[in-house]
Symmetry: C2
Subunit: 226 residues, 2 copies
């Protein structure tokens, strides 16, 4: 997992609280904090930070954290373990692989490897083990999922009628609304131009990959040319 530090403080209406630039080492420590929070979901203790950077004692880390806090990048509650808060978490992005493309209209080939990377804001937390797929095609446009959207897929999730799932059909993947009826599975498009796909439950060429637990679409910053 690669984390990218996006320093935005110098933008037009820059944040007031970030008073000074971080040194290289302080920057590395801040990145580690973000990494730990996104990955492990809890902030590290001083000892864990020291271990990671090879420091022989916690005092070194302690002093670095004090410096980073003085400069306004983190906040911590005194005496409380693992209480480091990242001041402006939404300004940081984590680089996440997109595992393939998936057809919302007609089936498309699914790639075994990473095809692209997305800068996912750290505020968008992904369930563990879930992965990202980019949607192509417009058969789900009535469910407001569009070509280019990135869907968060949780594998082996429970399947409920009416849920949007990712399924493999003869080595191609589709995003459809799932419906089980009279012992056979129907995969619906929201777009009425596409007819439902009907499969027998035991069809060996069919497999449910997982359910779509969320979508992500980049919101900010579009160049206005006029």
């Amino acid at each position: 997992m690669v984390f990218i530090f996006v320093n935005n403080w110098n933008s037009p209406n820059g944040s007031v609280s970030m008073s000074k630039e971080l040194t290289e080492i302080q920057n590395k420590i801040l990145n580690f904090l973000i990494e730990q929070k996104v990955g492990k979901r809890i902030p590290p203790s001083l000892a864990e930070i020291a271990l990671h950077f090879g420091y022989k004692n916690r005092a070194t880390v302690q002093q670095h954290l004090q410096a980073i806090e003085r400069k306004g990048y983190i906040k911590k509650k005194p005496k409380l373990s693992r209480s480091i808060e990242i001041t402006s978490e939404e300004l940081y992005f984590i680089s996440r692989p997109i595992m393939g493309e998936v057809a919302a209209g007609n089936p498309l080939t699914i790639y075994p490897d990473t095809i692209d990377t997305i800068q996912l804001p750290t505020i968008v937390k992904m369930p563990s083990q879930s992965f990202l797929l980019r949607v192509k095609g417009d058969s789900l446009k009535d469910a407001y999922i569009f070509s280019g959207d990135v869907v968060i897929v949780k594998p082996d999730a429970e399947l409920v009628n009416g849920q949007i799932v990712v399924a493999i059909l003869e080595d191609a993947a589709v995003v459809k609304r799932f419906c089980i009826k009279n012992g056979s599975i129907e995969l619906h498009s929201e777009n009425s131009e596409y007819k439902p796909i009907v499969i027998e439950i035991n069809d060996p060429k069919f497999k449910i990959v997982g359910s779509v637990v969320g979508i992500y679409r980049t919101m900010g910053k579009k160049i206005l040319d006029n």
Copy 2:
């Protein structure tokens, strides 16, 4: 903040790892864990849990946690403080107020109070101090924001050209793409049917509320009637 516990284990393809039902108290403790993680962003220590429930020592909490872990709802690393992980975090929802409605097309009145509540999945982390607004109207449909979508608004965020912002114009709120040009502010719709709104920077009837940092749209479970 009110948290709602959604017990999903008994759904058709129930998860395998959740072996037994929790008792009432165990349930309350699990809810507290979720509450703490979503709110404070870090799991509580045994002492903090004991304090919250009025227990006189940590051992009581310790035994409850062991029971909850035995039943598969949480996992924790031995000897490590604040290392409780919620096994299937994406199954829980947090109840969050929607503060008002906002027009993406023509301006609408913004309500001072909560108008509705949404069940936001705990995987969608909101930046602190941000709030939710429901979008009405279709002027942003080319940016794929639709009537009914819930936008996450971060107040006082830095304003960058091309960013989507919530602004107040004569006591009504709009969602538009922000653009500053030659000393005056332009608010663009993606939908070409609407013309840009142009305001002078110092116009007292105009105020930027914040920037849209994300959208959320309920994905799962739609009743298929056929």
